[in-house]
């Protein structure tokens, strides 16, 4: 009950060659810069592009294997897809967009519409059931596109930059709804994104693609805390802390994090490694977040060094090689980490 894929496609300029393993009930994020081959990888899973080499196997069924000439057509794959541009059928109402997949699979028109109406009502969109896509807001259209993909009860759900088309205000809210929907989805879900925040808030596992190759793969916590390359670190390496927010205070394990803006509920707090200041004595600066830490590891990387810290909150700090030299910190020593509240970003989970 999982997806195992080795995706090899010849592209202009470079070859895409990535391995993907995804488990049902988990969300895998494929992260990488634009043009890295992420969308092409999705298209091979969907069946709108064919592999040149490799193999795609979903729940024990081979979908594509050029070596033996197996290729399952998109309409027979039961793969749901949400495109960056959504691609809702402009001539059909929201209801008929969602009902489309059921109708194609032989459900009667009235049953398919009833099912679509129930799905819309569950998201509070019953008033938009008869609206054409052009009349929907960005957030509404995104939800309709997701419902349309989920209506066929896909074994695999693909989301290509699902939030990229939204404006920043709707984005947060839609992201939260999407997370909730993905939590309730039992199949394999894959999200392609170039926005680290999307990956950090939506995914359980991460694959970082760079120039058609996997730069790093692992659980979200592993990859964000221990990026194996400068590139991965820049793309997604950060401190991701989950906690309970009340006002500007977030409680996470034994630590309290102070935010600049109040927020309520279950949140992710992102603490950029480069925003963390280290010093040997308790800081007297204005930074409200300060924790005594033990140095667990020092990883020099060019002009900068990543310092792994253990304490009330496991953190990675990134400092320049110069300050590393002047601090003279050693593994096992105690140091104070401080960070300004304004440097933190909190996202409702």
């Amino acid at each position: 009950m999982s997806l195992t894929a080795r995706i090899q496609v010849r592209l202009d300029g470079f070859d895409l060659d990535v391995g993907l393993d995804a488990q049902p009930g988990r969300v895998l994020a494929i992260v990488g810069p634009n043009g890295a081959g992420k969308t092409t990888a999705l298209r091979t899973l969907q069946g709108t592009a064919a592999l040149d080499g490799g193999r795609i196997e979903l729940e024990g069924t081979v979908l594509d294997d050029p070596a033996v000439g197996t290729f399952v057509l998109p309409e027979q794959r039961r793969v749901g897809m949400v495109h960056q541009d959504l691609l809702l059928f402009p001539h059909l109402s929201a209801r008929d967009n969602i009902a489309f997949g059921l109708r194609a699979r032989g459900t009667s028109r009235s049953d398919a519409r009833r099912c679509a109406d129930e799905q819309l009502a569950a998201l509070g969109l019953q008033a938009q059931a008869g609206s054409r896509p052009a009349a929907l807001s960005g957030g509404q259209a995104q939800r309709v596109a997701l419902l349309r993909a989920l209506a066929i009860e896909p074994r695999l759900l693909l989301l290509d930059e699902p939030l990229a088309a939204l404006d920043p205000t709707t984005r947060g809210e839609t992201r939260r709804d999407l997370r909730r929907t993905l939590d309730g989805f039992g199949g394999v879900a894959i999200v392609v994104t170039h926005d680290p925040i999307d990956a950090l808030t939506l995914a359980d596992d991460v694959v970082v693609i760079e120039q058609g190759r996997v730069a790093q793969a692992g659980t979200l916590a592993e990859v964000t805390a221990r990026p194996r390359s400068r590139h991965v670190a820049e793309l997604i390496g950060t401190n991701l802390v989950r906690g309970a927010a009340s006002g500007t205070r977030v409680v996470s394990g034994g630590a309290v994090i102070h935010l600049a803006e109040p927020v309520e509920g279950d949140v992710f707090v992102i603490i950029p490694p480069s925003a963390i200041t280290l010093q040997s004595d308790e800081p007297t600066s204005s930074a409200r977040n300060r924790w005594p830490m033990t140095v667990a590891g020092i990883e020099p990387s060019g002009e900068r060094a990543r310092i792994r810290l253990e304490g009330p909150l496991p953190l990675v700090a990134e400092i320049t090689a110069t300050s590393l030299a002047s601090l003279r910190i050693q593994v096992g020593e105690v140091t104070w980490a401080s960070v300004k509240a304004t440097e933190l970003h909190a996202y409702l989970r």
Binding site: T48, P74, E75, L87, F89, L92, F100, I152
Partner: protein, 254 residues
């Protein structure tokens, strides 16, 4: 510059004014009701509609073939399809005659095997009109298919729709405006067809004598009747222009 442009406008306007001015409005209705005129109009309407149906039925798959597939010799096929648009219609009629007359291999086989004679028959009128009119339908629909984002069809397939379902439920509705425009355009062309019809199907009253043929004939004997019938075709042309104004006259279409 301006004078030349004004001259050009006059070139288009003067014949129109002449036609309206020469018409004897008191007897236009009677002229149109004469048995010969009525028969020609009835024939023209039925044959042009039949030719349009034929153009849609054959033109839709052809447009799809040209827009969406990579068959070898596509450029040649397109040139062949567009040829009737630039070919003098009378040459088209001669060519149809060469292919389908009872003296040709195909024509004699059709007659011997099925008793079908296309020359000098109503079916021949329909064939001649479709030959001349179908290219208008094909290029209009092909252009629409080309500008249609193929990802809509991919999405539909991904949702489980068979190729036939994709075409019927997604492709066709999305290109419907172009299909309608192409159909109107080819119907108007079929309605006005003269050269190929008279050459291939002849000029038999009540059977192959369509409106344009009747006009040509009446011009000798009864010019007022010819003008009355011309007004009918003029009216139709105007209606088509108004119907397609969004496409051609830079209307509301974004």
């Amino acid at each position: 510059m301006l004078a030349a442009a004004a001259l050009a406008i006059l070139l288009f306007a003067l014949p129109l004014i002449g036609l309206l001015q020469r018409a004897d409005w008191s007897r236009v209705v009677d002229d149109l009701r004469s048995p010969a005129s009525a028969a020609a109009m009835r024939l023209s309407i039925t044959t042009s509609l039949a030719a349009t149906v034929l153009a849609i039925a054959l033109g839709l798959p052809l447009a799809w073939l040209l827009a969406r597939t990579d068959i070898p010799g596509r450029a040649v096929i397109r040139a062949l399809v567009l040829l009737p648009m630039v070919l003098p219609p009378v040459v088209g009629g001669v060519a149809l005659l060469a292919a389908f007359s009872r003296r040709s291999p195909l024509g004699s086989w059709l007659y011997d095997a099925f008793g079908i004679q296309l020359t000098f028959s109503r079916a021949g009128v329909v064939l001649a009109e479709a030959f001349v009119a179908m290219p208008f339908f094909v290029i209009t629909v092909e252009a629409a298919l080309r500008s249609l984002d193929p990802r809509f069809e991919q999405v539909a397939a991904g949702l489980g729709a068979s190729p036939a379902q994709v075409f019927r439920r997604v492709t066709l509705p999305l290109i419907a405006p172009a299909v309608a425009a192409g159909a109107i355009l080819s119907w108007a062309r079929a309605l006005g067809e003269f050269g190929a019809t008279i050459t291939f199907a002849g000029n038999i009253a009540g059977r192959t004598r369509t409106l344009p043929l009747e006009i040509y004939l009446q011009l000798e004997s009864d010019p007022q009747a010819a003008i009355a019938l011309s007004l009918v075709l003029l009216l139709v042309s105007f209606a088509v222009l108004i119907g397609l104004r969004d496409r051609w006259l830079g209307g509301a279409r974004p």
